[in-house]
Amino acid sequence: MTSAVPETPTARRPDPDRPRLPWPVLALALIAVAFFVLPVIGLLWRVPWTDVADVLGRPAVGEALWLSVRTSTAAALASLVLGVPLAWLLARIEFRGRSAMRALVTLAMVLPPVVAGVALLYAFGRRGVFGQYLDEWFGITLPFSTPGVVLAQLFVSMPFLVVTVESALRQTDLRVEDAARTLGATRWYVFTRVTLPAIRPGLVAGVVLAWARALGEFGATITFAGNFPGRTQTLPLATYLALETDPDEALVIALLLMGGSFAVLVGLRDRWLDATRGVAR
């Protein structure tokens, strides 16, 4: 009953729906995943789950949460209002110094936030180059105030929106805008009714990234706006301070920050980005 033909070992049949990675790539990718997952596990492990409700009920935490929500939302909206025109300028207009301007935007993204805070202080502080006039002429003092928090957050978060929206603008078909012009649309009408809707996924992604970055902002805020409960003490600042006095509280706030950001990122990505990606196919 033995077969004359020796059985040749066959390779596993490839699954057309599942491309297989070369194993070194796969191994490294798994290490990367672990790198992000392990800290989360570490945090979740140590969270005093029985105290969560109690900590969240504390007035100081509630205050910091409310301040964080307000300032990060304001910073995200300001990023949108100022960042979209800047992205449009960078994407569409060729001018001298464009690459320098683009580098400056990226610089704000990679600069240590503390440095950003110091720079803001020297510019808009009470004795700052511009801040002294704000104080003198309009009686406006930005440092150590809630608007100061928004300013610090805006400085570090707007670049995320600018970079995202600029890349979205570069991918749009300019001829569609030409078509709109021939139909009687002014430049402004084209911008609001054709350009912006066309880059909506990029806009949403940019706002979400800017918002998440503003929510997590620490270094620039504490340097420029200080750490005054109810006025400038946002959740990340509260976390850091609680670490010294009440580590359990720090853990709960950290959980709150992480959970909130994660929910928003996942929710908005799926809803806006994947939906349009499916259509584009």
Partner: protein, 350 residues
Amino acid sequence: MSLVVSAAIRRGGFELDLDLDVPAGEVLGVLGPNGSGKSTLLRAVAGLTPAHRGEIRLDDRVLDRVDDRRFVPPEQRPIGVVFQDDLLFDHLDALDNVAFGLRARGIGRRAARGAARSWLDRVGLAELANRRPVELSGGQRQRVALARALVVEPRVLLLDEPLAALDVATRRDIRRELRRQLAAFDGIRLLVTHDPLDAYALADRVAIIEEGRLVQLGAIEEIAAHPRSRYVAELVGTNLVEGTIRDSVMSTPTGAELAVVSDLSGSALAVVRPQSVTISRQEAASSARNVFHGVVHEIERYDGRARLSIDGPLPLIAEITLGALDAMALRPGDAVHASVKATDITTFEL
């Protein structure tokens, strides 16, 4: 009413320089190979690319004049454009795409949608009003684009390769639709194409552009019969016969009958390449089913070849070698037999 272009337009190191007068009563086809400057012409007329020298006028109204720096921006020109890749707005449904031009002019949503709906109906898409462009076929998209351009009642309609992006079957369909809409449109009509067949089917006169210059202007039959250059001859120098096909026989308005191999029925266009027309002095025994008696009207010589215009029940252009011409010692006025094999004829539905 007429559109006058007497301008040079520069676009990316390329210059288009021409004088063109387009009256309202006709459809002018602008024919030329890719990169010849056809689309640049349309962009300049639409106001998307300003002229570099000269002027563009619609009757007495200056749209663009370099000398006194007058320039009417595209949104203020009474000009509608249908582009090659429809360029619909992906975020709007068919109805709002068509309504866009009216909305941009400040017309209320209800009124704009009402007008858009009636135009969608005119191009046969009433049921698809709420579909997004991604949910429409190429032909349907081009119909929407046509309705979108016409709903604002422009005085000039520019068509930029409206059939080039479509597959063969759809192309026939849209060509017929364009024919209908162009006939119904009473303004100035300009059609840019690289396909002589489209020009023949849709245009009354043709302007041939080569490397940014106008090389010949006239009725396409006239250009086909008397191409002014080898280039033009190759582009349009073919026999286009219009007629009605029934049972593989095409009857022409002049009473000739042409055997074809075709399953078409009704109004059609037959393309007979001059190279596949055989000329003889006597009626030769051959397998060709189409033999026409005619008289040599004109002989033109190009490098190594001769083009004969033959008058008769079916006027034809034949291209033969100079050797064959000498061997037969043909002269204008000589009687000849022109024959074409039915298998050498391509037919298109009109």
